[in-house]
């Protein structure tokens, strides 16, 4: 079943890509949408069949491939990857649905979107490090092309910068994997095999450093973040949505899976520094967002800030904090996806994203009241207002991390306050006030443009009101991920242990 989920979009990409050139232009879109729909349905079935009480791997598939290289076709999912697979399936469907119906070169465009989807699913579903690397690299190419071909005026610059950064990220991942296998004398790149080694702490630090830089670029964390605002600003709305919603999660996923999973001793020792790094990333992202005039750039910097919370949770490394990290990945995927989607609609209708130019867009009949209302909801969710998914994720993270890193957690909480500041600036300037004459005749927003945002918004509220649907998949896995890990350096052991105990007990409660 996992193979179907991985290969269906790749096969779909091939079909779309080789679709007869003379055929009507709507067909590539229809095929892509159909493939995404089937993928979404399959993911839902996967979730239905998944046993949340079992923290180990499920739906395992194994086919020996190049065994001499240690590369096998090895798939399986656990509570860390399942929520991200579901998120990916949902957002890919939204991205395809919200793509411009008259997009240029539709066969290539939809083909690349599907290929991107296949790469991401593969990266989340694989259980072999080399296979992960292949899928990780596979998603770079379509994303590069999607920015470079369908992007804004500075698309070449942004796409090249993205490619350079993420290529370095890929190289460092590969170097870390080779280093781990080589130094530990392991011939098999299966996750389970790589996780068992007895490398000295110094070597672990070295390899963990490579992993941190590699995935720090992807997340991105300050100071490896500079590619992200450019990429977001130049990318088209559906690509921005996928970039923020899913692709950045490859970074946080990799951090947990490889950083914490492969180098637990080094991770524990470095945890206080990682938590401090999270603080820097959060505060830098938020403060830079406050200074932005471009709505998309503001949301991009907001992403940097919000991804910092995940690093904080990962540094705390308690079952509860890791649960919060997974929840935050999903939460951020949905909320940032919604924000980028709405910014895209505003840009499409007004021709600008400048908050010094935009004004009064909430005007009931001549403005964009529905889009504005969704924007207010998205902003509230992003700022962590209760009853929405952002609150659930951030509350779990802060609740768990405070016991381990109180100072860093408090500073990160400051970030949520700053989030409210810049997002309120955005709302206040662009949506409140009187609609100026230049925007008094904005084109109509069609229901097909409203539906994607509405769908995400409903999910944001649903998961905020029913958080069990957000965390139930991961509780057992996050507990298992840190079971027997070493004590954190500089942490408050008694408190950390207590939180662990509580969380583990919850995870095993039927």
């Amino acid at each position: 079943m996992l193979s179907l989920l991985v290969w269906l979009p790749i096969l779909g990409a091939a079909v779309v890509g080789f679709w007869p050139a003379g055929a009507p232009a709507v067909w590539p879109r229809r095929i892509a949408l159909s493939v995404a729909s089937v993928g979404l349905a399959l993911s839902a079935v996967l979730a239905f069949l998944y046993n949340p009480a079992d923290g180990g791997l499920q739906f395992r598939e194994f086919v020996p491939w190049m065994t001499s290289l240690g590369l096998s076709y090895e798939l399986g999912i656990d509570g860390l990857s399942l929520p991200l697979l579901l998120l990916n399936a949902f957002l890919v469907w939204i991205a395809i649905f919200s793509s411009d119906e008259n997009v240029q070169r539709p066969r290539l465009y939809y083909g690349l979107l599907l290929l991107l989807c296949g790469g991401v699913v593969g990266a989340f579903a694989t259980q072999n490090a080399l296979l992960f690397f292949l899928f990780y690299e596979l998603e770079l190419i379509p994303l590069y092309l999607l920015i470079a071909i369908w992007g804004g005026p500075r698309r070449n610059y942004a796409a090249t910068k993205f490619l350079l950064y993420t290529a370095i990220s890929g190289i460092m991942i590969l170097a870390a994997f080779f280093g781990l296998a080589g130094l530990a004398g392991i011939a098999n790149y299966s996750y389970e095999t790589l996780a068992v080694h007895n490398l000295p702490l110094a070597t672990q630090f070295l390899l963990l450093g490579a992993v941190l830089v590699a995935f720090g670029i992807k997340i991105p964390l300050v100071p490896f973040h500079t590619w992200l605002p450019d990429a977001h600003v130049e990318a088209s709305t559906p690509v921005s949505l996928l970039l923020a919603g899913v692709l950045l999660k490859l970074g946080t996923y990799g951090l947990l899976r490889f950083g914490l999973g492969f180098f637990p001793e080094a991770w524990s020792a470095a945890a206080p520094w990682l938590a401090s790094w999270a603080v820097v990333s959060v505060l830098y992202g938020c403060m830079t967002a406050i200074a932005q005039k471009d709505m998309k750039k503001m949301v991009a910097y907001s992403s940097i800030g919000h991804m910092g919370y995940i690093l904080l949770a990962a540094a705390a490394a308690t079952p509860l904090s890791l649960l919060g990290a997974v929840a935050q990945m999903v939460s951020h995927g949905l909320i940032s996806g919604l924000l980028f989607l709405l910014v895209g609609v505003v840009y499409k209708k007004t021709g600008t994203r400048d908050i010094d130019v935009l004004c009064g867009l909430l005007a009931p009949e001549r403005g964009l009241p529905f889009i504005g209302s969704l924007m207010i909801l998205a902003v509230m969710a992003s700022a962590g207002i209760p009853s929405m998914v952002g609150f659930v994720a951030e509350f779990i993270i802060f609740r768990a991390s405070y016991a381990v890193f109180p100072v860093q957690t408090l500073l990160c909480i400051l970030g949520t306050g700053l989030t409210a500041v810049y997002l309120l600036i955005l709302i206040n300037r662009a949506f409140f006030g009187r609609l100026p004459a230049q925007f008094a005749n904005l084109p109509q927003v069609r229901w097909s443009e409203r539906l994607p945002g509405l769908a995400i918004a409903l999910l944001v509220v649903f998961l905020g009101l029913q958080p069990q649907w957000l965390v139930r998949w991961s509780e057992a896995t996050t507990a298992a991920l840190v079971a027997g890990r070493p004590a954190l350096a500089g942490a408050l052991p008694a408190q950390a242990e207590r939180i662990d105990t509580v969380a583990v007990r919850r995870a095993h409660t039927p």
Partner: protein, 375 residues
């Protein structure tokens, strides 16, 4: 001495002045403007017909009714009507009450003088005593707050005066539409002439008001009060609703504490001629209520015209509001011309000068209205 030149005006709205002196209107002539104005006045006429009937019903039949739950039902309460009311399948009579309150608050000179007179106090007192004769609670209330019920009676007079005003205006607009359909109205000046003639014809209609209480008739505004349609209803209405009004929440953004609202009511300019049409659509704000009502009665040609715009059905109420403002500038033109010191086509230079000064005064008031947007 400043030389007067009939062909030139240095006023920022000089082109409008020159147009009016040449027999034109505040609103430029044109087939689209004409169609919008006549079409929207047709729907307005239908809506006004419902409004005046309700205003007079409230004035006559709901006089001093403490809990007028069914005041918008015109005495015909039934379950289907109640369900329609809750489902908002109804006329927004609240809008007519907003207009009445605007008149009540800003006042009408001669009407207020009468309502402040001992004659009215005596008549109102008798009606009040008759009304609360068998209601000890109301009697107690009246003794505790002796100004409350007379003030209510005063408000009822305004209900009646506005109802009587609109009772004349409603058929005037419907006849205008019929004449347009027959090809008799071909320009904006024709519209203005029709309205002006209607106002002049009704100018001396007396305004009276009486209520029946247990079979006995109590005259609150008798004919001796010498109140008439044009000067005591039409002119105060234009002043209160077209020009002054008040800053409704949702239509005007203001900070009263910072002195952004003048303490002098005469300086108010929140009326229909000044209203920003863009906030239309906000829940419950008065312009929206009127536009909702008019939307139900648009002539087909105007509906199609609106549907052909960029947003079609979606912003129809804003479009109606814009057309409505255009039509109200026609009504205002008729009022301005009707009240001019001399006929606007006079040949005498001294009269022309007086008219020019008169028009410039009006243009000063209209400088910050929506007039520049239409010119």
């Amino acid at each position: 001495m400043v030389m007067y030149d009939q062909k030139v005006s240095s006023h920022p709205l000089g082109r409008v002045i020159l147009r009016m002196e040449a027999g034109g209107a505040l609103l430029p002539d044109g087939s689209d403007n004409l169609m919008e104005v006549v079409g929207v006045l047709k729907s307005y006429g239908v809506v006004l017909d419902a409004y005046w009937r309700n205003l007079l019903y409230i004035a006559d039949r709901q006089f001093l009714v403490f809990f007028p739950f069914f005041k918008y039902f015109n005495g015909k309460v039934s379950l289907p009507k109640l369900l329609d009311h809750w489902a908002h399948q109804r006329i927004n009579y609240e809008f007519s009450e907003y207009c009445m309150k605007a008149m009540l608050w800003h006042g009408a000179a001669k009407l207020d003088a009468y309502l402040d007179s001992p004659a009215f106090a005596e008549r109102a007192g008798r009606a009040i005593r008759a009304k609360i004769k068998f209601n000890p609670a109301a009697g107690l209330l009246h003794r505790l707050f002796p100004d409350f019920l007379p003030e209510w009676a005063r408000q009822s007079c305004y209900y009646s005066v506005l109802g009587q005003f609109w009772r004349v205006m409603s058929p005037m607009f419907l006849v205008l539409s019929d004449r347009y359909d027959r090809g008799e109205i071909r320009s904006i000046p024709d519209v203005v002439a029709h309205i002006k003639d209607g106002l002049v014809a009704a100018a001396n209609l007396p305004l009276t008001y009486a209520v029946d209480i247990r079979g006995e008739r109590y005259e609150l505004i008798p004919t001796e009060a010498d109140l008439h349609f044009l000067m005591d209803a039409a002119v105060p209405y234009v002043e209160a609703v077209f020009f002054r009004s008040f800053p409704f929440m949702g239509t005007v953004s203001y900070n009263a504490q910072a002195g952004q609202i003048s303490e002098n009511q005469a300086d108010f300019n929140y009326g229909a001629l000044y209203a920003d049409p863009l906030p239309i659509g906000g829940s419950g704000i008065p312009p929206t209520l009127l536009m909702q009502d008019m939307k139900q009665h648009l002539p087909e040609y105007l509906r199609e015209y609106y549907l052909g715009s960029l947003r079609g059905e979606e912003d129809m109420r804003v479009q109606i509001c814009v057309s409505f403002q255009k039509s109200m500038f026609c009504v205002t033109t008729a009022a301005i011309l009707g009240l001019a010191p001399y006929p606007i086509d006079t040949d005498r230079p001294d009269q022309q000068r007086a008219n020019r000064a008169y028009l410039e005064n009006w243009m000063d008031r209209l400088m910050h209205s929506r007039l520049p947007a239409f010119n």
